[in-house]
Amino acid sequence: MSCQWQDKIVLFVDDELQPADQEEVSAHLSGCSECTAAVAEHLALKKAVRVAANRYSAPPDLHASIYRQLHPHARVSPWWKWGMSSVCALLLAALGYSLWPRSSGGDAMLAELVDQHVIALSSSNPVDVVSEDRHTVKPWFQGKLPFTFTPPEVAGTTYKLVGGKMVFVQHSPGAELLYTAGQHKISVFIFQEQGSSKRPARNSTFNIKNWSENGLGFYLVTDASDAEINQLVSMFRDANRS
């Protein structure tokens, strides 16, 4: 790996590159296994730090005293009221998520997919290619991924394509397509299958579907119910059937 790429890869992983450079690195990664491995290693360390460093929560009495600090004249201190604000709830959900999988090593792949989905939920730029049009999104991945896939036509359904981005999960490059269904966000991940076994399709909070079609592994992660995603799953299956 030349130094030029080494430096860029750190910036790539830290999301510090300009869009043009970002694309240049993405393009390079699709043909360079050494750099892809380096990206995976950087991401693994970042994630390990993110999980491990998130170690302490403010004790309840600190919540209370901060509340009193902000409202010196208030008699009661309903810290739990704002404590349960949606932002806190989201943070807790994200935290719960980041803690969930690592204790059971076998589900590392799903854990990373859920992480990726949570990142997409919280990011202001959840996708790298922004388009409702599958004919724009699909070609964007060409040359970046060592395989092709077909996003289904969702016009006329309750689903809306938001866009897509490259992801690296378990060392492999893949695609993440982001959809909305009403208020729900749905991530569909596509990877080349590596002969891995089927994994459990549900955990306590996120609904996860996993299926294979034509040598590709598909993973759908969302908070929407089965009823809301079944149609999207079957459309994906149909679109990618040989």
Binding site: L45, A48, R102
Partner: protein
């Protein structure tokens, strides 16, 4: 227009209570001190509301106040004084990371990574937590820590290299991770 009113402040700052406390605990290594530090940070921020520049990152601003408050505390001074830092070039630091230890990093459980983070000198600890947990941009970290962006990058590279080394050392169980990872740096005491 600059400044936020108290209501906006609450909306922005209260969700940061846990992240700020978490950061403070890492810095102080003591629950009581971390508590005081966060309270002082909120008090200072509340007083300085008018100086917050709208459009800049509020999180980075709060971390900056917390970190500056920490620096003036006794523990802050002590922890900093145990470190003689040597800044290296970004490329240099990155290039010296040779073999990817992906498998090892994956094998490391959270507790072990926590040990590795705890073993970092404070200047490396703060930069890696702000970057990888709080997901601040390099420029925001530079602002929060009052250091040039190049220093953010070199410290970050160095912090990660030390973490890798600590993790490998802890996993192999041969050496003490509290040992300085590089001859040029004196590890902070706990």
């Amino acid at each position: 227009m600059s400044g936020v009113n108290q209501k906006e402040f609450e909306k922005l700052a209260l969700p940061l209570l846990d992240p700020l406390y978490n950061f403070a605990r890492w810095m102080c290594r003591d629950a009581e001190e971390a508590r005081d530090l966060v309270q002082e940070t909120f008090a200072k921020a509340l007083k300085a509301l008018a100086s917050f520049q709208e459009g800049t990152n509020f999180r980075a601003w709060m971390f900056r106040i917390l970190r500056n408050t920490f620096l003036t505390s006794r523990t802050g001074l002590e922890r900093r004084n145990t470190v003689q830092e040597s800044e290296e070039g970004f490329a240099d630091s990155v290039a010296s990371h040779d073999t990817p230890e992906l498998a090892l990093v994956r094998r490391a459980d959270s507790e072990l990574v926590q040990q590795a983070i705890a073993a970092l000198p404070v200047v490396f600890q703060e930069v890696v937590i702000l970057a990888d947990l709080e997901e601040l941009k390099y420029q925001e970290i530079a602002d929060a820590l009052d250091i040039p962006i190049g220093t953010v990058m070199s410290r970050l590279a160095r912090a990660r290299r030390m973490l890798r080394e600590h993790i490998v050392a802890l996993l192999s169980g041969k050496s003490d991770a509290r040992k300085p990872a590089s001859g040029k740096t004196v590890g902070a005491k706990s």
